[in-house]
């Protein structure tokens, strides 16, 4: 009986709640964590939308897309936040996304043209190392050195996929030779970013594939200046994280409002020190102190998202054959 009463109360409460519209955003795990951007952005958006913003965290960008494909058109999600340029083509192919226009003056190293997705933050992939190490200047020098690196598997992680695209974009047909040179530098390959970064911090490798903004975390949150990112002269591959709205959303206007909110100052100023990436639009107050100490790549690399699926398959085969020798 108790349970019935409880169920009835819950039902009534849910109905009362339902009068405020609910906006459901699927995102990756670290976004919703209490120390991530999620809670701050939720409070700020709810203050202006008279709605209930609900973040649902699951895995990473690739897991998000797989989840959407599973749910198909029946998904409860109104928006998806956290796909990146490597996943956009696959996301569009599902036909689940609606077109959207966001008005923003982006501070990205590339011009942004996409009719469905809006970028909210971005970063450069980079090898992070201990500050007292003199890093190699490019992949060739890295391959010639005795330095040990930890990377992520492109079959299970988005940074691992990013590295494949980076080498492919920088070296094209020479990519297999680069990978063959790197093979003896790779201590090991991990399932995801956390494992790799953990191994690096344990001293298992000299460098780890991460982001140019990773040292900012250590610098700002831990006041630890012992980590640095290596600047490569062939350029650094970018990861641009995007938000998009689903065609099946029952709150299309709210969803548009949220996309616009994500590029507003209120959201953008939060991202650098919660998501540890560059904001897509530089906030009025500028970047937080510490970001000026990060390396700035001379050249930003990015493969157009439509070309990614075909290139991924080719690059993966090259990577596999070079590293399984």
């Amino acid at each position: 009986m108790k349970y019935l009463t409880l169920a009835a109360i819950t039902l009534v409460a849910t109905q009362a709640w339902a009068e405020t519209p609910e906006l459901v955003v699927y995102t990756y795990d670290s976004f919703v964590a209490e120390w991530g951007p999620g809670p701050v952005i939720e409070a700020a958006f709810e203050a202006e939308c008279a709605c209930d913003l609900k973040f649902v965290g699951m895995g990473d960008g690739a897991a998000l897309l797989a989840r959407l494909k599973l749910e198909g058109a029946r998904s409860d999600a109104d928006l998806v936040l956290g796909l990146d340029t490597s996943l956009i083509a696959a996301a569009k192919e599902t036909g689940l996304f609606a077109t959207a226009t966001v008005d923003a003056d982006y501070d990205l190293p590339v011009t942004w043209e996409d009719d469905s997705f809006a970028p909210y933050d971005w970063g450069y992939f980079a090898f992070v190392h201990s500050a007292d190490l003199t890093p190699p200047a490019n992949f060739r020098a890295l391959a010639d050195s005795d330095l040990k690196i930890v990377i992520q598997d492109p079959r299970s992680s988005t940074p691992g996929l990013g590295l494949l695209m980076w080498v492919k974009d920088a070296y094209g047909d020479e990519a297999p030779a680069i990978w063959e040179g790197l093979a003896d530098n790779v201590v090991t390959v991990t399932k995801g970013w956390s494992e790799a970064y953990g191994l690096f911090l344990e001293g298992e490798a000299d460098m780890v594939l991460s982001y140019t903004t990773s040292p900012a975390y250590h610098l700002i949150a831990e006041e630890d200046a012992t980590k640095a990112a290596a600047a490569f002269d062939e350029g650094h591959y970018m990861q641009i994280e995007v938000v998009g709205k689903l065609a099946g959303s029952d709150q299309p206007e709210l969803a548009d409002q949220f996309m616009q909110f994500m590029v507003s100052d209120a959201a953008q100023s939060v991202l650098p020190t919660t998501n540890w990436m560059y904001p897509a639009v530089t906030p009025q107050g500028g970047l937080p102190e510490g970001f000026e100490k990060l390396i700035e790549p001379g050249k930003a690399l990015l493969i157009p998202s439509d070309d990614v699926p075909a290139l991924r398959e080719e690059a993966l085969a090259e990577w596999l054959s070079a590293l399984s020798q």
């Binding site: 795990d29 964590a33 991530g36 797989a66 696959a90 996929l161 201590v187 090991t188 298992e204 590293l323």
Partner: protein, 518 residues
């Protein structure tokens, strides 16, 4: 047939077996149902299958062989802290992979203690990455399990048999041949099959310590098929290969087990009259010390790091810990409801072939089960609402083969020894369980429940697919901390996880042995 003397209802057992098979096969079916046929298995998949079988076979062989001297030494020695050591030995097995791997690397890694010690005496360092690294880590995970299972079997030998052996003046070697060898023949194939299956589904360990693409396992191929390719057909095919490999290994291993049961006797504490001194004593001490060092040093590093991280942990870790404990307790209840009738059914059969059913839960990819049930649940209910029950259920399925390995031999003996008496008293159904089986199986039930609770605490598999922000389990919260660069806080969370897992294990295990002599 003598085994039939006792009237254990087979109906509930068969229902439990059908339920287990249905839960898993429904998931495969659902994935196949949503799949678009097209791609089959490629050459890369076949080499993944090869590598998977090779590393799993090596890991199973080494873990079981090394467990024999360790379990034997523990079975016949009494020393201060033995109980604590036996409990601690269970720890590696229940830790989330990443925590255990970092622990192993703290000792054997490039910048680890072993290499530091080697450098100190001027010897060249060792590298842990490669097939040997995978096997080393798998032995670290599974040696304790094999040891516990063998130890448990050793303790089913009645004291009278050892007393008789002592009266006959048998040497340790003769005792080994007459009592212990038959016991090993009974328990080893099942133990090896179990560990083979566990290592078959390994993925993060094999990838991390294998050093890269050479160490691709079937599970990684399943992962890839789901995540980036969303090739449900290939994912389901690979899942079936994994299930088939595990299922046939299990059936084969269980088939060759001779149906040996040890003679009757009253329950008494295990006293050994053989191997009292001299060389045997030193050897036992050596085995126990080496095993304890191998298993406890990595754990020590997890604890040391965790203590430093404790003050930095956000409060949400405690909330996640509460969720994990709840899930673990539900898993234990579900497990016992499945395992006891199933064990009862298996024990009344001459051969243990059906025990293979239990192994399916372990052999199935958690990602596949999660995805399959997601497909089935999504149209009728919100997957978020069912996140915790589904996690608890899948965790119980994963623990089922362990529980069966623990329960069945003892149950079989009980049935053989007391079957006739029970029949004369007309005990059947619930009273049979209530008065004969449950009291005599209490230590085994406690052990199985403890293991299930601990395994469930450390599991990350299904929750990740169903999770919403409010129902994060402790391992998931730990990963989130790592993802936000907070490695120290994550180490603190790992320590809490270790403490809670061991605590749950200890409480159930102790509870089972409370006032019971075994």
């Amino acid at each position: 047939m003598a085994l039939r003397a006792v009237a254990i209802s087979t109906k509930t057992g068969i229902s439990a077996a059908v339920l287990v098979a249905a839960l898993i096969l429904a998931a495969v079916g659902a994935v196949l149902w949503r799949a678009e046929f097209g791609s089959g298995l490629g050459p890369a998949d076949w080499s993944a299958i090869q590598f998977t079988v090779l590393q799993a076979a090596l890991s199973a062989l080494l873990s079981t062989v090394l467990a024999i001297p360790v379990a034997r030494a523990l079975a016949r020695r009494r020393f201060v802290g033995r109980g604590l050591l036996v409990t601690l030995l269970g720890a590696p097995f229940i830790l989330p992979v990443i925590v255990a791997v970092l622990g192993v690397l703290a000792v054997f890694g490039r910048a680890g203690w072993l290499n530091a010690a080697l450098a100190l005496v001027g010897l060249p360092g060792i590298t842990i990455y490669g097939l040997h690294g995978v096997v080393l880590a798998h032995v670290f995970f599974n040696l304790p399990l094999a040891t516990r299972l063998l130890l448990q079997a050793w303790q089913t030998v009645s004291a009278e048999r050892f007393r008789l052996a002592a009266q006959l003046g048998l040497t340790p070697r003769a005792v080994f041949r007459s009592i212990e060898l038959p016991l090993l023949r009974q328990i080893l194939p099942g133990t090896a099959a179990l560990i083979f299956v566990i290592c078959l589904t390994s993925f993060a360990v094999a990838l991390t310590l294998g050093g890269g693409p050479r160490a691709t396992t079937i599970e990684l191929a399943i992962y890839q098929a789901f995540r980036f390719d969303f090739d449900l057909n290939r994912a389901a095919l690979l899942s079936l290969v994994q299930l088939g490999l595990a299922g046939s290994t299990a059936a084969l291993a269980l088939w060759i087990i001779p149906a040996i049961s040890l003679g009757g006797g009253q329950d008494r504490p295990l006293h050994r009259w053989d191997a009292r001194g001299g060389l045997q004593r030193w050897l036992d001490a050596l085995f126990i010390t080496v095993a304890a060092g191998f298993l406890l040093l990595p754990l020590t590093s997890v604890v040391l790091r965790g203590v430093i991280g404790l003050p930095q942990m956000p409060a949400s870790v405690w909330q996640a810990a509460g969720t994990s404990v709840t899930v673990a307790l539900i898993s234990v209840v579900v497990l016992l409801a499945l395992a006891l009738p199933l064990a009862g059914w298996i024990a009344t059969r001459a051969r243990g072939g059906v025990e293979a059913v239990g192994l399916l839960g372990l052999a199935a990819s958690p990602l596949m089960i999660g995805t399959g049930w997601f497909i089935l649940i999504n149209p009728v209910a919100s997957p978020f609402a069912l996140a915790l029950p589904v996690t608890a259920l899948v965790n119980a399925l994963m623990a089922l083969p362990f529980a069966l390995r623990i329960l069945v031999p003892r149950l079989r003996d009980t049935v053989q020894i007391y079957g006739r008496q029970a029949q004369m008293l007309g005990l059947t159904g619930w009273p049979l369980w209530r008065w004969l089986i449950l009291p005599r199986l209490r230590p085994q039930i406690g052990f199985a429940a403890g293991l299930t609770g601990a395994l469930s605490m450390g599991d990350l598999g299904v929750i990740a697919l169903f999770a919403d922000p409010d129902s994060a389990t402790l391992p998931l919260q730990m990963y989130r901390l790592m993802g936000a660069y907070r490695m120290e806080a994550a180490a603190g969370a790992a320590l809490i996880l270790l403490a809670l897992s061991l605590g749950i294990f200890w409480i159930f295990d102790k509870g089972g042995r409370w006032h019971a002599d075994a």
